[in-house]
Symmetry: C2
Subunit: 493 residues, 2 copies
C-alpha cells in the first residue's frame, strides 16, 4: 500500500523543498505562526480514524493516544506562540558610530532558517515525535521545509498526519514543498537523504545505533551538516538515605509505575536505581518485587522491539555481576514485554560497562552501594543522560554537594523527586543531554527552544533601512524583542 | 627556549583544568566578569616588551599591534559587560501548575559551561585571536577553563600573554587550572589535545586543512565534541552596475586598500570581485592596475605563509582560465608578499573549482560576467563565506532581489558597500559562515555571542528554591534577564 519512494522522486521532492525554502525566507514569523495554527487545527480535527490506525499500528492504548494527539496539537500552537514574540530570532542591532576610530558600522543580526531539514519519525511517539511531531513543528517554525521519512512501524498513521499537514498548506496557500512525506524501509533510503546536498540539517529520535550512524554520515559529507539525534538513556535515579527511609513502599510504587508506563517504551524510562544497602533498601526491594510480580505483560510497539527487549534482557542477565530480583509472574508471549527487575552492586557496575547499556522496555537495574563514596563512583562512571533524578530530602541534598555537582555534568534535566517519564512541553524543558544521550547537548528537542536547532545567524552591515528584513528595520514593524545597542527592547529606533 | 610540553604534563594540566571547571561552576557570572576585567587590566598594563616581541615574531607593524592590543582588552571587557546581565544564560522558568492534568512541574533552565576548552591560537592576530584572544575570553566567560596551544609563529608573544592571564588569576585568587599554556609544534600534539577525554570543546582559527582535520578527529572520538573552526574565506565582492559606474577609480582604490591591508593576511580579505563587463569595469581595472603596480611588497607573518602565498599564486596562475591583470612592480624577496590581481570570466570560474580556493595574501581575482544571469550563476556556485559584499546603490539592490536572496544563504555577514576587512567587536557581529568558512555556521567567534559556543542548557525540575543556582532562585539575586512563564523580565517571582 505504501510504496518505497524512488530516488528520482526523492530528488524531485528535495528540489521542491529547496524552492519552498526560498519562498519561506520571504514570509514573516507572523505568517509562519499563522500556518502553524492552521496545521494544529487540521490535526485537532482528524477523526477517530487516526486513533484507530495508531492503536492498530503501535499497540498503544486509546487514552494514551488521545493524550498524545492533544500534546501534538499543543506543540504546534505553543511553538507558534513563542515564535511570534521573535525572541528565538535573537535580533541584535548596533547602530553606527561614525566618529569612532575606525568608524563603527551599522550592524544588525538575526537568525534565519538553515534550509531543508530531514526528520526521522520515532516509533514510540507516533504523533508527538513522528510525522507531525516536535521536530517537524520546530523546523517549520524556523522557516525550514521538512522532508519526513515515515517510520515503518506506523505508515498509515504517518500518512494521515502527512495529509493533514499537506491539506493545511494547500488551504492556506503555501507551497507543498514545505512538507514532503517519504517512504523507505532500508538504511540506504535514510542514508540517501542525509547525504543529499540539498539537505542542511537532520533530526532523529531512536536508537543509539541508528542515530550515531546518521551523525557519522552527516559528518563525512563534503559539506558536513548537524544531526540532532536523541538516542535514549538509562535515566538513573539516585535514592538518598533520608528520602528512601521516609516511605520505601510508596517510593517502590512510584518507581514501578514510571518503569512500566507504556511498557517501558519511553526515552526517559528510569532504567537504573542507585541506593545504599540497608534495611530501607531491603524494604524498597521487597515492595518493588511484589508490584513487579503482579504486573501484566503487554504488547510492545512492534515485534522487532519486543524481540530486542527480550534479547537485551537476556544479555543483561547473562552478565556475571547481575541477578534477577523480580519478574512478572505472567509470562510474556511473542510481541509482549514483561517487567523485570535485576540487581547488582556498585562494584559490579563499575567493573562491567555493559551494565550501563539501555534495555529499552520495562527493565530496571537496582544498584546497591556500600556507602556514599560508592555512589559517587557510580555517578562518575555514568555516561551522558537525558535525565537524572535525585530521590531526596533537602537535607539529603545539602549533605551531598559533590554528588549533585557530578550529576549536573551528566544530564540535561535534573529532577528533585518525582519520576523522569512525562516530558512537559514548555520553554524551560531540556530534552537532550551529553553524548550518548544526544549527539548535541547544546539543544533541546522538546519545548520551543527546539526551534533554534534549525536557525543560524546572519549579520547585515550598513544596509539602508528600507532594504533590511522587517525584523531589523528601525520601526520594528513586527514588534519583536531586539537587543539595540546592548539594551533588550521592543521599541523602535 | 620554549620546550614542547610533554604528554604527562598535558595530562596534568588537563586534570587541573577539569578541577578548575568544578570550581568555576560554583562562582557566579558576576565573579567571572570581575576576573575578566582583572585579566583585561593586566593585558592593558603589559609594557612595550609585548609589542616588540610581536613585531619581531610576526612582522606586523607597531601601529597595527597597538590597535590590536586595545581591541583584545576591549574584547575581555565587553564580553564581561554582556555576561553580567545574564542574557547569554537564557534562563527560563516555568512555574508549577499543580491542578493541570497531568500536573505541570516547576521547571527552570539555564546555560552552564560545557567543560575544558582547547584553543588553538591564530597566526594572523597574535593578540586578538590568539593566546588571550576572543576564544579564550569567551570560554572563560562561559565558565570553561582554557587549554591554549601556543601558535609556533609567536611563542614569546604567547608566553607574555599567558603570563598576564596567569598573574591575574593568581592575584584575584582563582585556581591556575583555569588557564594552561601548552607548547607543541607537531600535528600530533594538537591531535592529543583534541582526542583527550577531559576536553569538551575546541576553538581554532586557521587553514581549512588544519580546521577540518581537527573537526574530523573530534567527531571520531568515543564522545564526539564540537569544533569551532574558522577556516577562511574568499569573501566575494559583487560590484553592481549603477554603483560601479559612479566612480570606478574611487572604488578601485577602496578595493586595493582592503586587499593589501596587512599584506592581505585577514580572514575577511576580499579575494574575489565579480562585475559585469563594460566600460566601467575597464575603468575600474585600469585604476586598480595602476595602484597594484605601485604597491610595495612587505614581510608576511612568517616564511611558511610567504612560501604558501607564492605557491598558491603560482598554482592559480597556472589555471588555463586565469590571466594576470596587474602585479607589483617591486618584486617580493623571500618572506615577503607582493600584491597580484588576476582575471577570469564567469565561464572560467564556473568550469574550474580551483578558482574558488583561497589564496591567503594580497591576491585578488576579478571575475567578469556577461550579464546579471552570469552573476547569478557565479553566486550559486559559491561555497560558504564569512562575508559577501554588495557594492551597490539602493536601485541596484532593488533590481536584483534574486541575487541578494542567493547570497544570504552563502555567508555569515552581508555588507552593503564598504569592505569586509575590519571586524567590529559587538553583539551584532557575525563572524562565521556556512561550511567551509567555518565548521558551524550557527555560532560566531567575534562579539559576545561567541560565549554561547561553550554553554549547554540544564533544566532543574521541582527543586526547592534554596537549592537552586542563584540564577534561577525566585528572588533573582543576580538581577539577570529570565523568561518567567513565557514573559521576559528581570523581576523576582
Amino acid at each position: 500500500m505504501y510504496k518505497e519512494t524512488t530516488q528520482d522522486k526523492v530528488d524531485e521532492l528535495l528540489n521542491g523543498a529547496a524552492e519552498a525554502f526560498q519562498y519561506l525566507k520571504k514570509r514573516s514569523i507572523k505568517d509562519r505562526a499563522a500556518l502553524m495554527y492552521a496545521i494544529a487545527d487540521k490535526i485537532a480535527s482528524l477523526g477517530p480514524e487516526l486513533i484507530t490506525a495508531a492503536m492498530e499500528e503501535t499497540s498503544l492504548p486509546e487514552a494514551r493516544l488521545v493524550g498524545e494527539k492533544a500534546r501534538t496539537v499543543f506543540q504546534w500552537r505553543s511553538y507558534a506562540d513563542r515564535l511570534k514574540d521573535g525572541a528565538c530570532l535573537s535580533a541584535r542591532i548596533d547602530t553606527a558610530i561614525p566618529d569612532k576610530t575606525p568608524p563603527k558600522p551599522d550592524l544588525r543580526k538575526l537568525m534565519v532558517g538553515v534550509g531543508p531539514v530531514v526528520v526521522f519519525g520515532a516509533s514510540n511517539f507516533p504523533f508527538a515525535f513522528s510525522t507531525a511531531g516536535g521536530d517537524t513543528a520546530s523546523a517549520i517554525a524556523a522557516g525550514c521545509p521538512v522532508v519526513l521519512k515515515a517510520h515503518p512501524g506506523h505508515l498509515k498513521t504517518s500518512s494521515l498526519m502527512a495529509d493533514a499537514i499537506l491539506s493545511a498548506l494547500k488551504e492556506e496557500g503555501w507551497p507543498e514543498g514545505i512538507f514532503s512525506h517519504i517512504y523507505g524501509n532500508s538504511n540506504e533510503a535514510g542514508a540517501y537523504l542525509v547525504k543529499h546536498p540539498l539537505v542542511k540539517s537532520v533530526a532523529f529520535t531512536g536508537s543509539f545505533h541508528g542515530g550515531k550512524a546518521l551523525f557519522d554520515l552527516a559528518n563525512t559529507r563534503e559539506e558536513p551538516i548537524p544531526v540532532f539525534a536523541e538516542m535514549g538513556s538509562i535515566n538513573p535515579v539516585f535514592a538518598l538515605p533520608e528520602k528512601l527511609a521516609t516511605n520505601p513502599q510508596d517510593f517502590a510504587a512510584q518507581y514501578a509505575a514510571s518503569l512500566t508506563l507504556g511498557v517501558g517504551q519511553f526515552c526517559t524510562n528510569p532504567g537504573v536505581l542507585v541506593a545504599i544497602k540497608g534495611e530501607t533498601l531491603d524494604a524498597f526491594k521487597k515492595a518493588l518485587t511484589g508490584i513487579i510480580q503482579g504486573s501484566l505483560p503487554a504488547n510492545m510497539l512492534h515485534k522487532g522491539i519486543a524481540n530486542a527487549y527480550s534479547s537485551n534482557k537476556e544479555k543483561m542477565l547473562s552478565q556475571k555481576e547481575v541477578t534477577v530480583l523480580a519478574s512478572a509472574e505472567n509470562k510474556e508471549i511473542e510481541g509482549q514485554g514483561a517487567a523485570l527487575i535485576a540487581a547488582t552492586d556498585a562494584a559490579g557496575l563499575l567493573s562491567n560497562e555493559h551494565l550501563l547499556e539501555e534495555v529499552f522496555g520495562p527493565f530496571g537495574l537496582i544498584v546497591s552501594c556500600n556507602d556514599v563514596a560508592d555512589m559517587l563512583l557510580v555517578a562518575k562512571k555514568l555516561k551522558g543522560q537525558l535525565t537524572i533524578t535525585l530521590a531526596a530530602t533537602e537535607a539529603d541534598i545539602r549533605q551531598q554537594p559533590e554528588l549533585v555537582n557530578i550529576l549536573q555534568d551528566k544530564c540535561g534535566r535534573l529532577l528533585f523527586n518525582g519520576m523522569p517519564t512525562g516530558v512537559e512541553v514548555c520553554l524551560s524543558m531540556q530534552h537532550g543531554g551529553p553524548f550518548p544521550a544526544t549527539t548535541d547537548s547544546r539543544f533541546t528537542s522538546v519545548g520551543s527552544d527546539a526551534i533554534v536547532r534549525f536557525l543560524r545567524p546572519i549579520a547585515f552591515q550598513n544596509w539602508p533601512d528600507g532594504l533590511l528584513p522587517d525584523e531589523l528595520k528601525n520601526s520594528n514593524p513586527l514588534g519583536i524583542y531586539r537587543t539595540v545597542d546592548n539594551v533588550l527592547t521592543k521599541e523602535s529606533i
